[in-house]
C-alpha cells in the first residue's frame, strides 16, 4: 500500500485542515514538537483500522479541544494498481466512505461498515472489538510502522506471519500441525523430565520401576528360600552319603576289632601262663632266699650262744664270787657297829631325860611364882571391883541434874524474884515464915484455892492482885484485899514460874538451884573416883580382858603346874622347896652323848654305803649273767626252732637250699620262654584293639552327629516344604513378569513419544530456520553497514524476534545486553528487512518511522539513511521527525514541513 495524500480536519491538535501529499519513495515530514506529526500518524491509523462508528474514549479524545467538531480524515492511497480514497469522520458525523479512482475521479464504492472492512483489508488488519483499533489490529502495518517510542518488533503471528513466510517462501506449521507438535510435546512432558533422562513421577513408570524393584527383591528372597531347600536337600544327600561311608568304615573297624580280639585272647592266655610261672618263680626265689636267710641265721645264732657262754664263764662268775666275799666281811662289821650304836643311844636317852627334868623343874618353879603373882593381881582386881560397885550404887542413888536443868532452875528463881519484886510494887504480897511445919491453903481473889505445906523456917509468899485468903490449918485465916488489877497477872506468872521451879526441883529433891549445883558437884566427884578405879582395874587386868579371864588363866596355870608336878613326882609344896639340878650341866652331858652317837652312826652309814655298792655291783653282775644266759638260751632255742624243720640238722637245711635253687632256675627258664612268645608292648593287640575301639567310638559319635544333622535337615526340609517356597517363587515371578510387560509396554510408549517429540522438534526447528535464516542474514548485513563492524551475526527466534548478536562463530550475546542505541537500530533494521521481504512479494508498502532513531549517533544515522535510501526502491518511506538537520544530506526525498 502506498500513501499518496493525507488530509485531516478537527483532528486532535490539528483543528484546521491539514493536507499532506507523499512521495512514492521517500517523504520527510518535519515539524517541531507538538506540531502534530504523531497526530497525523494516528489519523492515518484510525482511518485505516478503527471503525468509524467507534465511540471509544480514545476516539472521543480526538475531538479538538474546545470544539464540538467531528474529527475527519481523508486518505488517498494506492494498492497495487488501484487508487482509493478513504474518508472517515468520527463522533457526531460518523461516516466512512471508500472511493475508487476511475481514471478521472474518485467514485464511492463502499460506505459504512463495508467500507471499514475493505479498508482494513488493505493492510490485512483485524477488526477491533468495540473500541478503537490498537497496534495489534493493524495487520502488516504492525511491522511496517514504527510509532514514536515503539521501535521494538511486534509479535509476528497470524496473517502477518503468514505474509512474511509467504514472502520468504517459508512454510510454517499450520494450526493442526502446531497442535500435533504441541500434543506430542505435551505427551512427552507427561512422562519425561525436562532433560529427558528420567521419568516423571506422574507417569506410572517410576511406580512400575519401584514395583519391579520390590518384586525383584522379593523374587531374590523367594529364590534364595527355594534354593535353600535345594541346598538343604543337597546337604541331606551329602550327609546320607557320608553316613553310608561311615557305616562301611564302622563295619571294617568292627571286623578289625574282632580279629584283634582273637589275637588278644591268645596273648591273654600267655599272660595268664606267664603270671602263673612268674608266681612259681617268685615262690622258689622266696623259698631259696628264706632258706638262705635261715642258714645265715643259724650260723649267727651259734656264734651268739657261744659268745654268751664265754662271757658267763670267763667274766661274770669270778666277779660274783669276789663280791660275795666282800659282802660277808662288811656284814660282820656292820653288826658290831650296830651294837655299839645301840649302846650309845641308851646313853643319849638317859642324858636327855636328865636334862629335860632339870629344865622342867626350873620351869615349874617359875610357873609357881607366876601363879602367885597372878593370884595377888586377882585379889586386887576384886577389891577394885567391889569399890566400883559401891560407887556405882552411890551414883545410882544420886540425883543428876544437868547443867541445863540447873540453869533453868536458876532462871526460874530469878524470875520468881523478879515477879515478887513486881508484885510487891503492884499488888498484894503475903509472906509467911513458919516456925513450925504448917499446912493450909491460899484462896485467891478469883476463888482459886491452892494448898501449901511449909517446913519450919521456910518462908512462903502469896501474891494477889486484889484479894487473898490464907488459910493455915489449925491456925486460922488471913484475908487480904487489894485493888490492883496487875497483881492478878503477876501472880499468875509467879505461880506458873513457881510451879515450874517446884516441879524441877522436886525431881531432884532439891529446894533451890544451889542444891542442884551442889548435887551435881558431888556427883562429879563420885564419877571421878569411878574413873580412877576403872583405870586401876585396867592396869591390874593388863593383858586380861576381865577378872574372870584372869581367874581362868590362873586356873589353867594351876592345872598345868599340877600336871607338871605330877610328872615330876613332886608336890606343890615340895616344888617350892626343891632346888632344881643344873640344867647346863645336864645339857652338856646330853650333847656329848649325842655327838658320840652321831659319830657311830656316821660309821654305820659309810659301812652301809659300802654294802649297798657291793649289792649293786652284785645285782648288775646278776643281771648281766641273766642276760647272757637268756641270750644263750634264746639263740639255742631259735636255732632249734629253725632246724626243727630240718630234723635239727644244718646239713639238711643246706640240702633244702640247693633243691630250692634248682626249682628257681627251672621256673626262670619257663618264664623266659613265655616272655619271648609275647608280642612287644607296642604291638599288643589289646592296645591296638583299644585304639580301634576308640576310633570306633569316635566314628559312632560322628555317625550320631551326622544322624542328628540328618534329622535336623529333614526337619528343615519338611518345614520348608510345608511353606511351598516354589509356589511363592512362581507367584512372585508371574507378578514380576506382568509388571515387566506393563513396564516395557509403557517404556516403549514413552520412547515412542520421545522419538516423535524429537522428530517433531527437529522439523519445527527446521521450519523456523527456513524463516529466520534469510532474515538473520539480511539484518546482520544491515547492522554491519550501519555500525561499520564486520562479522556481526544477528539471530532470530521462531517468533522472529532478534535474540542474540555474535561475532563470527562466537557465542552470541543477548540483544537485551546491547546498548540502547544498538538495540534501537537492530529493531528498526529488523522491521526494515522484514518490510522489504514483504514488499518483495506483495509490492511497495508504506514504511513509517516516527522520530525513531533518537539514540543513534550521527555517523550511524547517516549510514542508516543510506540504508533507507536503498530501501526506497521497495518501500515508500515516510519519516516523521523534529530533527530536520539530521536529514540534510538526504537527496530526492520530499520534505513536508508541518507548521502550526
Amino acid at each position: 500500500m502506498i500513501l499518496e495524500r493525507l488530509a485531516v480536519r478537527a483532528f486532535g491538535c490539528l483543528r484546521d485542515p491539514v493536507e499532506l501529499a507523499f512521495d512514492e519513495r521517500f517523504t520527510l515530514v518535519t515539524g517541531k514538537n507538538e506540531a502534530g506529526k504523531s497526530t497525523l500518524f494516528r489519523a492515518l491509523h484510525h482511518a485505516l483500522f478503527t471503525p468509524y462508528s467507534s465511540n471509544a474514549q480514545e476516539i472521543r479524545e480526538l475531538q479538538t479541544w474546545g470544539t464540538e467538531l467531528s474529527p475527519e480524515v481523508t486518505v488517498e492511497l494506492r494498492v497495487g494498481d488501484e487508487r482509493y480514497q478513504v474518508t472517515k469522520s468520527f463522533l457526531h458525523q460518523q461516516r466512512c466512505v471508500l472511493a475508487e479512482w476511475d481514471g478521472t475521479r474518485f467514485r464511492d464504492v463502499a460506505n459504512g461498515d463495508r467500507a471499514d472492512e475493505r479498508i482494513r483489508a488493505f493492510l490485512l488488519g483485524d477488526r477491533p472489538g468495540r473500541g478503537a483499533a490498537g497496534e495489534e489490529h493493524r495487520g502488516l502495518a504492525r511491522l511496517l510502522w514504527a510509532p514514536q517510542g515503539q521501535v521494538a518488533l511486534p509479535s509476528i503471528e497470524g496473517t502477518l506471519r503468514q505474509e512474511i513466510e509467504k514472502s520468504l517462501d517459508a512454510l510454517s506449521l499450520d494450526e493442526g500441525e502446531g497442535r500435533l507438535h504441541a500434543l506430542l510435546s505435551g505427551l512427552y512432558f507427561e512422562t519425561w523430565s525436562k532433560n529427558g533422562k528420567s521419568f516423571l513421577k506422574k507417569s506410572r513408570l517410576p511406580d512400575l520401576e519401584a514395583e519391579i524393584e520390590r518384586l525383584e527383591a522379593e523374587r531374590t528372597k523367594a529364590e534364595a528360600a527355594w534354593r535353600a531347600v535345594e541346598q538343604t536337600s543337597q546337604r541331606l544327600g551329602d550327609v546320607e552319603a557320608e553316613l553310608a561311608g561311615l557305616g562301611d568304615e564302622r563295619t571294617e573297624l568292627q571286623q578289625a576289632i574282632e580279629r584283634l580280639e582273637a589275637a588278644a585272647k591268645r596273648v591273654q592266655a600267655l599272660k595268664v601262663k606267664l603270671a602263673t610261672e612268674s608266681a612259681e618263680l617268685e615262690k622258689w626265689k622266696g623259698r631259696w632266699e628264706s632258706l638262705d636267710q635261715q642258714r645265715k641265721r643259724v650260723i649267727a645264732l651259734k656264734a651268739q650262744a657261744s659268745e654268751a657262754q664265754e662271757a658267763l664263764e670267763k667274766q661274770i662268775q669270778p666277779l660274783l664270787e669276789r663280791v660275795g666275799k666282800a659282802q660277808e666281811a662288811l656284814g660282820n662289821e656292820l653288826k658290831q657297829l650296830e651294837t655299839e650304836i645301840a649302846e650309845a643311844e641308851g646313853r643319849v636317852k638317859s642324858a636327855r631325860s636328865a636334862w629335860q627334868r632339870a629344865r622342867t623343874l626350873t620351869a615349874a618353879k617359875e610357873q609357881d611364882a607366876q601363879i602367885r603373882r597372878l593370884a595377888k593381881r586377882l585379889e586386887d582386881v576384886r577389891e577394885v571391883q567391889a569399890d566400883q560397885a559401891a560407887l556405882n550404887e552411890q551414883l545410882a542413888q544420886m540425883p543428876n541434874p544437868t547443867p541445863a536443868q540447873i540453869k533453868q532452875a536458876q532462871e526460874l528463881e530469878g524470875e520468881l524474884k523478879r515477879l515478887d519484886g513486881r508484885l510487891e510494887s503492884v499488888g498484894l504480897s503475903l509472906e509467911f515464915v513458919a516456925e513450925s511445919a504448917q499446912t493450909g491453903r491460899v484462896v485467891h481473889g478469883d476463888g482459886r484455892e491452892e494448898p501449901f505445906t511449909v517446913e519450919g523456917a521456910e518462908t512462903i509468899r502469896a501474891h494477889a492482885a486484889r484479894s487473898l485468903q490464907w488459910h493455915i490449918d489449925g491456925v486460922g485465916r488471913f484475908s487480904v484485899r487489894s485493888g490492883a488489877d496487875e497483881v492478878a497477872t503477876l501472880e499468875q506468872e509467879r505461880e506458873e514460874a513457881k510451879g515450874r521451879l517446884k516441879a524441877l526441883l522436886a525431881g531432884f529433891g532439891a529446894t533451890s538451884s544451889d542444891d542442884l549445883a551442889e548435887m551435881r558437884e558431888t556427883r562429879r566427884d563420885v564419877e571421878q573416883r569411878m574413873k580412877s578405879l576403872k583405870e586401876k582395874l585396867t592396869q591390874l587386868l593388863d593383858e586380861y580382858e576381865s577378872a574372870d579371864a584372869l581367874q581362868s588363866a590362873l586356873a589353867e596355870l594351876e592345872r598345868r603346874l599340877t600336871a607338871v608336878c605330877e610328872d615330876l613326882d613332886v608336890t606343890r609344896e615340895a616344888l617350892a622347896e626343891t632346888e632344881p639340878p643344873g640344867v647346863d650341866e645336864a645339857e652338856a652331858t646330853y650333847t656329848e652323848a649325842e655327838d658320840a652317837l652321831a659319830e657311830l652312826n656316821k660309821g654305820l652309814d659309810d659301812l652301809r654305803a659300802d654294802v649297798a655298792t657291793l649289792e649293786k655291783e652284785t645285782g648288775e653282775l646278776k643281771t648281766r649273767e641273766a642276760t647272757e644266759v637268756e641270750k644263750r638260751r634264746n639263740a639255742t632255742r631259735e636255732m632249734e626252732t629253725i632246724l626243727a624243720e630240718y630234723g635239727g640238722e644244718t646239713a639238711e637245711l643246706d640240702r633244702a637250699m640247693s633243691d630250692a635253687q634248682r626249682q628257681r632256675d627251672a621256673c626262670q627258664q619257663k618264664v623266659d620262654a613265655i616272655t619271648s612268645e609275647l608280642p612287644d608292648e607296642d604291638e599288643d593287640p589289646e592296645v591296638e584293639q583299644a585304639g580301634l575301639k576308640t576310633e570306633l567310638q569316635s566314628l559312632e559319635e560322628s555317625i550320631g552327629a551326622l544322624r542328628e544333622n540328618r534329622a535336623q535337615l529333614r526337619q528343615q526340609l519338611e518345614t520348608a516344604a510345608a511353606q511351598g517356597t516354589y509356589d511363592e517363587l512362581v507367584r512372585i515371578e508371574e507378578r514380576l513378569q506382568q509388571t515387566r510387560d506393563e513396564y516395557e509396554h509403557q517404556v516403549r510408549q514413552a520412547k515412542a513419544i520421545k522419538l516423535l517429540k524429537a522428530l517433531s522438534d527437529t522439523r519445527q526447528q527446521r521450519v523456523v530456520a527456513q524463516l529466520t535464516e534469510p532474515i538473520s542474514k539480511r539484518v546482520s548485513r544491515y547492522f554491519e553497514q550501519v555500525s561499520g563492524n564486520v562479522g556481526r551475526q544477528v539471530r532470530f527466534d521462531e517468533s522472529l524476534r532478534p535474540t542474540t548478536m555474535s561475532v563470527e562463530r562466537e557465542e552470541g550475546v543477548s540483544t537485551e545486553a546491547l546498548s540502547t542505541g544498538a538495540r534501537e537500530q537492530l529493531q528498526i533494521l529488523s522491521r526494515l528487512a522484514l518490510g522489504r521481504y514483504l514488499a518483495s512479494k506483495s509490492g511497495r508498502h508504506l514504511f513509517v518511522l516516527d522520530d525513531s532513531l533518537v539514540n543513534t549517533d550521527t555517523v550511524r544515522h547517516r549510514k542508516f539513511l543510506e540504508l533507507l535510501e536503498e530501501a526506497q526502491e521497495e518501500l515508500q518511506i515516510v519519516l516523521l521527525t523534529c530533527h530536520p538537520e539530521w536529514y540534510r544530506g538526504l537527496e530526492g526525498a520530499r520534505r513536508v514541513a508541518l507548521g502550526r
Binding site: E177, L180, G196, W226, E230, Y726, D727, V730, A752, R763
Partner: protein, 410 residues
C-alpha cells in the same frame, strides 16, 4: 491275561505361567481339574492302574496344600492303584516331595522309589521303573530298568527321546530302540509336553493339560497290553480343561475384513471362556487397522479366558487410509512419517519393511518439506535422546503418531 492302564505324565502341578501371567492361577488350577478328569476316565474305563511317568509336580518345593490336593485327587481313583515315577522336576532326592507326610498313608498311591520291579496280576505283569534321582544325567534312564521274566513287561522312564536336534545330552536321553532292546511290551515315557509316539511300543503322552499355544497336548494314553509279544493298543484320550487356540489372519490394510474374520473365528470356538486365544496377524498395518485391533482386544478380553494379539508379522503402512490423507495436506506430519520410515530402514531386517518400502515407493524423492531427515541427522538425534533404533519403538511411534494425528484432525 492282558492289562489295561492309563499312561500319563508331566502334570507339572504348581507350574509357573509367566507367559500368561494374568491368568496364571486359572492355568494352574486347570491342571488339577484335568487330573480329576483323568481319575474319572480311569474309573470309567476300569483300568488296572494309572501310571504317571514323571514330573507329577513342577518342583520338589511346591506347597504342602498343593501336594495334599493332588494326593486327594489320586485317592479318588481307589481301588485303582496309581504308580508315580519321580521325574527330573520332582526327582527322588533327600527332601523330595514324595517324602512328604501326604504320601505316607495312601493305600492306592505308590511312588516308584527304586528300580525294584512291581509285580501285578499274580506275577503276570511286571512294572519296571527307572526313577530319576538327579536333575541332569547323560545316562539313559532305561539302562536302569531291571530284567524280569514276567510275561508282560512294562517299562517306566522319564527323559528325552534321542531325536537328533531335539534333545540335550544331559537331559536323561532315552534311546529310541529302548523298548525293543529291553524286550519290553511297552515303555511308558514322560518328559516332553506334546503327544509323541515312538514306535509301536514306546510313547510319550505329553502333558495332560496344555501349557502353551503351540503344544499338541491335553491327552492321556489308554494302553492295553495283551501280552504274548503282541503290540500294545494305545488310545489317545483328550482330557484337557483349557484350550489354547491360535488364529492367523492376513490383513489387507483395511480394518473391516479383519475384524469380521477374527470375530467369526472366536465365535466358532467350542468354549471361548475356557480358551486362551492368540491372534496372529500378518500383512500391512494401517492406522485404521490399529484402531480396530485396540477395539478387538477389548472385545476378546471379555469373551475369552485370555487373549493376545501378535502383530510382529505385520508391516506398518502409511500409504493407506486416513493417515495418508491427512499427511498429504500436512507436510509437517508427512515429514515425520518420512523420518520414521527412514528410521525403520535403519532398524535393519528385524523390522518388517513398511508396505511402501516393500512396494518400492519412496516419497523422499519428491523433495521439499516432506523430505526425511538425513541418516546422520537421525542417528545423532537418536543419540542425543538416548534412544536406540529399536523396531518396536519405531512401530509404537507410528502407532502413536497415527493415533495422535487422528485426535488432531478427526
Amino acid at each position: 491275561m492282558g492289562i489295561r492302564f492309563l499312561h500319563t505324565a508331566d502334570w507339572q502341578i504348581g507350574m509357573k505361567a509367566n507367559h500368561v501371567a494374568k491368568v496364571a492361577e486359572a492355568v494352574r488350577s486347570a491342571r488339577l481339574t484335568t487330573a480329576e478328569r483323568i481319575v474319572a476316565v480311569a474309573k470309567d474305563e476300569d483300568v488296572d492302574f494309572i501310571l504317571i511317568a514323571g514330573d507329577l509336580f513342577e518342583d520338589n518345593a511346591v506347597g504342602n496344600d498343593v501336594v495334599h490336593r493332588v494326593v486327594h485327587i489320586l485317592e479318588q481313583a481307589t481301588p485303582i492303584p496309581v504308580y508315580i515315577l519321580p521325574g527330573n522336576h520332582d526327582l527322588l532326592s533327600p527332601g523330595s516331595v514324595y517324602e512328604r507326610a501326604a504320601f505316607r498313608q495312601v493305600g492306592n498311591i505308590h511312588v516308584l522309589r527304586s528300580t525294584e520291579p512291581i509285580l501285578l496280576h499274580e506275577g503276570e505283569v511286571a512294572l519296571l521303573p527307572a526313577p530319576i534321582t538327579q536333575k541332569n544325567s547323560e545316562r539313559d534312564p532305561t539302562t536302569h530298568l531291571q530284567a524280569s521274566d514276567a510275561p508282560i513287561r512294562i517299562g517306566v522312564a522319564h527323559g528325552s527321546p534321542r531325536i537328533e536336534g531335539m534333545y540335550q545330552p544331559d537331559d536323561h536321553p532315552i534311546a529310541l530302540d529302548a523298548a525293543a532292546r529291553l524286550g519290553l511290551d511297552y515303555l511308558a515315557i514322560g518328559h516332553w509336553h506334546s503327544w509323541l509316539e515312538l514306535g509301536p511300543r514306546m510313547l510319550m503322552p505329553g502333558t495332560h493339560e496344555p501349557t502353551k499355544f503351540d503344544e499338541a497336548s491335553g491327552y492321556v494314553a489308554l494302553v492295553t497290553c495283551e501280552g504274548g509279544g503282541a503290540p500294545p493298543h494305545v488310545e489317545q484320550v483328550a482330557v484337557n480343561t483349557l484350550r489354547w487356540a491360535e488364529g492367523s489372519f492376513q490383513t489387507d490394510g483395511t480394518p473391516d475384513a479383519l475384524e469380521r474374520q477374527v470375530r467369526t473365528w472366536v465365535e466358532g470356538l467350542a468354549d471361548p471362556k475356557s480358551t486362551l486365544v492368540r491372534v496372529q496377524l500378518a500383512g500391512p498395518m494401517s492406522a485404521e487397522v490399529e484402531a480396530v485391533l485396540r477395539e478387538l482386544e477389548d472385545w476378546l478380553a471379555v469373551r475369552t479366558l485370555y487373549a493376545e494379539v501378535d502383530t510382529r508379522q505385520t508391516t506398518p503402512t502409511l500409504s493407506q487410509g486416513r493417515l495418508r490423507e491427512i499427511a498429504i495436506a500436512h507436510p509437517f506430519l508427512e515429514g515425520l512419517l518420512a523420518d520414521l520410515r527412514r528410521l525403520a530402514t535403519l532398524a535393519g531386517p528385524e523390522l518388517p519393511a513398511f508396505a511402501e518400502a516393500a512396494a518400492g515407493r519412496d516419497d523422499d524423492e519428491d523433495g521439499g518439506p516432506i523430505q526425511a531427515l538425513d541418516v546422520d541427522e537421525l542417528r545423532a538425534l537418536m543419540r542425543e535422546n538416548d534412544l536406540e533404533i529399536d523396531p518396536d519403538v519405531i512401530k509404537e511411534a507410528i502407532r502413536q503418531l497415527a493415533h495422535r494425528a487422528g485426535e488432531v484432525w478427526e
